[in-house]
Subunit: 409 residues, 2 copies
């Protein structure tokens, strides 16, 4: 549907290190009539720890329910990702498909079905065809290992570019590596798009600590991005730690290297989250919204998302218009403590409003120059407390409407 | 900016009865370079009761603050509405303009400044020029009375048609009349658009009862419409009751005719609210979303608004696509109790999903036919309880982006 690479995409796919204990393979399950691979199969050596975060939707897919049930066991041997069919809202038939994939993969690897993690993305309401899934799995089992770029491309639906990032950390005398692949660009028609992110590291980390670190990192990254305020039924981020780097396993935040690893994981999550925004449907501007001076961090986060999700703010940025009145509006509607006469707002580095009105001698020229760029910053100071939050979004353009309305299914 | 009458507009302006004790006048204050009247001045005979509801924004305009302060006194002698400048986010200079308007009008009428109600709509962040307001008022004081159609047109900003409605009720042996004018069509660039609604009746109603009735009616009408989820800093609905019909004044809901009057007021509010949706920016479809079976009415309302505000649902309707998966998504993200496997969804009168999956033998043809019309119905049954709510919205089209992004200020 979208043949054009997003104008906000990075120049190319990054160089990723191999992660010991992780082997990706891809195959064609023919879920759609696409001429491309659509099934990703990633094996993990024994001893791999897992952590995960999933959608807050009250109507999750059976894949999400499967992962939620398996996550507390803390171990993983494989990941299977289907692209082209989300299997969401398919009742007992969808659950049967998930169980069949887990059983077949566990049989192949000689492990428990609960060691198999599964994610699907694509059209909603159509049960994932079990025969296609099984044939695809068999092809993947027999396939040669593939590159990370191939794996990142295979989990895509209507993303316009393959997304990945890498970081590293030092734990004791070992350098550990972290890589991640991700897909998502809003909720894409006629499919239900979904954010699926998968992180792999050779570090040895106990599952409980990995979960704590991932949840914290999620709160500062994936939970801080929005393309169109819509939440998929299938959103999933999983982190796998094989332990092959040979570091002394991290079990608590007091362990040597734990802070460094947490920082590297957080950085990776943020890089991956930004890539999703950079592929936002129809996006022409990457927008950072930083709120400070709120009564709490949570309040700052709510206000920042209210600005980020406002169609009027997003269209103003698309129009390169320094319409700070719309920012005031979005702050006002957030339902959080705000004092009109203490508000300060900046675009880029230029203060536009302070103390409840436009700054004396306001010069729009530097603001207009900032808005002509593709990286936009909006800063808000509520001057009420020390709460702060930063979120990222993209603008709302004709491209979004074209992708989501200009078709007949 | 928008020269084309909304395709969802009614055929013409309705016939409105005169309301004894109410006299509208219009004038040119030249707030913008428009070649039209932009100041509406409506006098109310002594003894007129007032009630009102105002924006929930944490950053309201000084006009809203003025009205909030005056409303508890329960009486009114005049309404002044400025179009072209909302006077919002203008600090002490904005407050001075409101005080000047109230003082000059009270001086003209020989009443208290607190008897004067004021509303403004238009650009944000620019203090309303006091000299223009005063000159405009003087012109209005000297003007001949105007028609309701002229008054309804004068409060418009970028609305594409003048909006009004009328109802009546029998109280004892008297027939009382209610009329209303309203403006608003989303939040319109480069102005901050606003919903301003004014209701006039010749019924005699005590202010406290009128307030209770208006608040209840608001909860089923103005609070149930959304164009783009954005909330103005200036939204205001005021109801004025002159008492000239000579009915025995209504003081409690037990009084004869109180139920009938409440029903007429509620009907009027709903008609006015629908007119705003029918002028939604870029709207090509009027959408009713009815949720039942929720755990409470409030929960149903939250879920209905989550569907109504979802850009993906709104673009699907614009594309005439029977994408019920997006409705599931919007239900799931609402954060309210919902059981995926008990959900039922209909488009028009056709059931599309039941018990958590597509209905057996689902035929898309009648749904597609329904979606080709301009009046769309989405029904959701959560099958959890008896909570219900209905909201109204419009679709999200290229027209919305064109109005809000395709300009430079």
């Amino acid at each position: 549907m979208t043949d054009t690479r997003s104008p906000l995409a990075p120049a190319g796919f990054p160089a990723l290190p191999a992660i010991a204990g992780v082997t990706p393979r891809i195959a064609r399950a023919h879920y759609k009539s696409w001429d491309r691979c659509d099934l990703t199969f990633i094996t993990l050596d024994e001893g791999t720890a897992i952590a995960g975060v999933t959608t807050q939707s009250q109507c999750p897919s059976p894949e999400v329910e499967w992962c939620r049930d398996a996550l507390p066991l803390g171990k993983a041997r494989a990941l299977v990702v289907n692209a082209g069919n989300s299997n969401a809202f398919t009742g007992h038939r969808g659950r049967a498909a998930v169980e069949a994939i887990a059983a077949r993969t566990a049989g192949h690897l000689g492990c428990q079905p609960s060691d198999i993690f599964i994610a699907s993305t694509g059209v909603i309401g159509v049960p994932l065809p079990i025969d296609k899934a099984e044939a695809g799995l068999d092809a993947a089992f027999a396939a040669a290992p593939c590159s990370w770029e191939e794996a990142a491309a295979t989990i895509m639906t209507t993303d316009t570019f393959a997304k990945a990032a890498a970081t590293k950390a030092i734990i004791g005398d070992r350098t550990v590596h972290l890589i991640g692949i991700i897909k998502g660009s809003g909720m894409i028609a006629p499919d239900m798009a979904t954010m699926l992110g998968f992180i792999f590291t050779d570090a040895a980390v106990e599952p409980a600590l990995l979960q704590g670190m991932l949840s914290a990192a999620n709160g500062k990254s994936f939970s801080c991005i929005t393309v169109d305020s819509d939440t998929s039924t299938s959103d999933t981020v999983l982190a796998f730690a094989t332990g092959k780097a040979g570091n002394a396993p991290l079990a608590t935040m007091d362990d040597e290297g734990a802070e460094a690893f947490h920082a590297a994981l957080s950085d990776l999550c943020l890089q991956l989250a930004h890539l999703v925004v950079r592929d936002g449907e129809g996006a022409s501007k990457f927008i950072e919204i930083a709120v400070e001076g709120a009564t709490s961090d949570k309040s700052a986060h709510t206000i920042a998302l209210s600005i980020a999700n406002s169609p009027l703010v997003k269209t103003a940025i698309a129009g390169e218009d320094a319409n700070w009145g719309r920012v005031v509006m979005a702050i006002g509607k957030a339902g959080e403590p705000a004092e009109r006469d203490q508000l300060a707002i900046r675009f880029g580095t230029t203060q536009v409003a302070e103390g409840g009105l436009a700054v004396e001698g306001y010069d729009e020229a530097p603001v207009s120059a900032h808005l002509k760029g593709s990286e936009i910053e909006i800063g808000v100071n509520l001057n009420l407390g020390s709460g702060r939050a930063t979120v990222w979004t993209c603008d709302l353009t004709h491209g979004y409407i074209a992708i989501n309305a200009d078709y007949r299914s």
